[in-house]
């Protein structure tokens, strides 16, 4: 046993592991330890006593409502993004449209999925704000006052459709390969067996696709949940979502308790962590069919 161990840890093995030391130090210093520091901090009082108090304090109405709005915006924008993204991906893969439409949409999706942050907020303000193009055209051409219906770009609904601008392209980018992986033979086989299009989708295609669909929707959810720049530029601090609350807390300790701020961060990590974990598990399931 000991002889085997000593021969196992020879010089070459040591050199092998030394090669990834820079990366490991970087990952520890700038990714893992900062995160762990916050996670640990969430379980301590300012004077170093272990406590669950901070976690319990998350369940005060103002913080709960921030989480609730964040979750609602993320769910709405991920479901909307997933639905439209799925139909777009379906259209370019199976809809029989010319190939330039496909390559055009995929290129555009690559750009639009990275067009987020502050400029995206500007774009939607200029389009659907009080003097935005669409608002003005609806008023002048159709006599329809968008803002009298209670619509406001600086609201839950406004934020949701703004987020969908990067959610839909992300869905298209991830789902197109999955739809490409659907074998023609499955379709043909079910047709030979007398299945209708509806039966094919309900009994063959969707059962194969649902891990991809679900998984990508969860990825979109996490994507929206952690986003701050767009919301901050769009609504200032008028819409009380978790990242904006955390931003205010980092800036000026608005919760009057540094360790409660850590708990707030922990809550975000838990939510994005769970949705990403489920995404990975579902993707592994989805890949079974794509070999």
């Amino acid at each position: 046993m000991s002889a085997a161990t000593t021969s196992f840890i020879d010089r070459r093995t040591v050199v092998d592991w030394l090669g990834i030391v820079p990366f490991m130090i970087f990952a520890l210093m700038f990714l893992i330890i900062p995160t762990l520091y916050l996670v640990m901090g969430a379980f301590f009082t300012p004077d170093g006593q272990f406590t669950f108090r901070n976690i319990a304090d998350l369940f005060t109405p103002s913080i709960i409502s921030a989480y609730w709005i964040s979750i609602k915006v993320s769910v709405a924008s991920s479901l909307g993004g997933a639905l439209i993204g799925f139909f777009l991906a379906w259209a370019i893969v199976l809809g029989g449209v010319p190939s330039w439409v496909r390559s055009g949409l995929l290129t555009f999706s690559g750009v639009a999925s990275n067009f987020a942050g502050v400029p995206l907020a500007f774009a939607f303000l200029a389009t659907l704000g009080r003097t935005g193009l669409v608002t003005v055209l609806l008023r002048d051409w159709l006599g329809f006052n968008l803002y009298s219906t209670g619509f406001n770009i600086l609201s839950f609904f406004g934020l949701t459709i703004t987020y969908m601008f990067f959610q839909i392209p992300l869905m298209v980018l991830i789902l197109t390969p999955a739809l490409d992986g659907m074998k023609k033979e499955w379709r043909e086989a079910s047709e030979i067996l007398g299945a209708s299009t509806w039966q094919y989708w309900r009994m063959v295609a969707l059962p194969i696709l649902w891990p991809s669909l679900m998984g990508t929707t969860l990825l979109l959810f996490a994507n929206a949940f952690g986003a701050i720049a767009t919301a901050y530029a769009l609504t200032g601090s008028s819409l009380n979502i978790v990242p904006i609350l955390l931003y205010a807390q980092i800036r000026g300790d608005v919760l009057h308790n540094a360790n409660l701020g850590y708990a707030l961060a922990l809550g975000m990590i838990v939510i994005t962590g769970i949705s990403n974990l489920l995404y990975i598990l579902l993707r592994m399931r989805a890949e079974r069919w794509q070999k």
Partner: protein, 262 residues
Amino acid sequence: MKTQKILAWIAIAIGVIYFFVPLIGTFEFSLRMRRGEYSADAYQSVFSDMQFRETFGFSMVMALLTIIFGMLLVVPTAYWVRLRLPQIRPVIEFITLLPLVIPAIVIVFGYLRLYNSSSWIPFTGSTSGTNALLVLSYITLSLPYMYRAVDTAMRAIDVRTLTEAAEILGAKWPTIMLRCIFPNVMSGVLSGAFITFAIVMGEFTMAALLNRPAFGPYLQLVGANKAYEPAALAVIAFAITWLSMGLLQLVSRFSKMAPSRP
């Protein structure tokens, strides 16, 4: 099959309307600064703003430093893992994906607590230290994209054979890295570089919380104080994103068309 085609075109039409109306709206809005007629006044106002030039230049420098140091970290690691430590590839891949799981605002919150001026490594105690921390935070943010781009490029070449051939010819490690590996994974390096550039140029959270005069916080400031300039800036930002992504697609298409080595 006819209904299918009609449905497909309806989907495409909805997508085109949803994506293009905001872009057209933004462009139209950016031209409205002069009352009663279209003009490029908003763009003129943006370009003549000293702060625009300063913050744009600052973010540009940050992006270049991020790309250089990020690649110096990622390429040797990806190479080494493929050559010597294939068994821990899943671990490394998992770590590189973590920045997509942990929100940026949480990561920078950790930095501010861990590396403040009274801590063991006071990054934020000086301007140059904070700039360094900003670059390091950008490397963290772009790690998922850089690592994947480089690793994909490395899959296409036979790292082991290349290394052995170079060793037999008497090459030392620096030569192997700089003259064999880097040129062969150039397409991956460039793809990673373009996406990193797009991310860093518009990044807001890290720069704002580290109090650095970058382009993202400047955009936010203009948005809060002016009417037409934000639209012009959004058009400029979209052009930057489009340019980086366009170059990325060009590089990846070019590398796919290149004949595979025997």
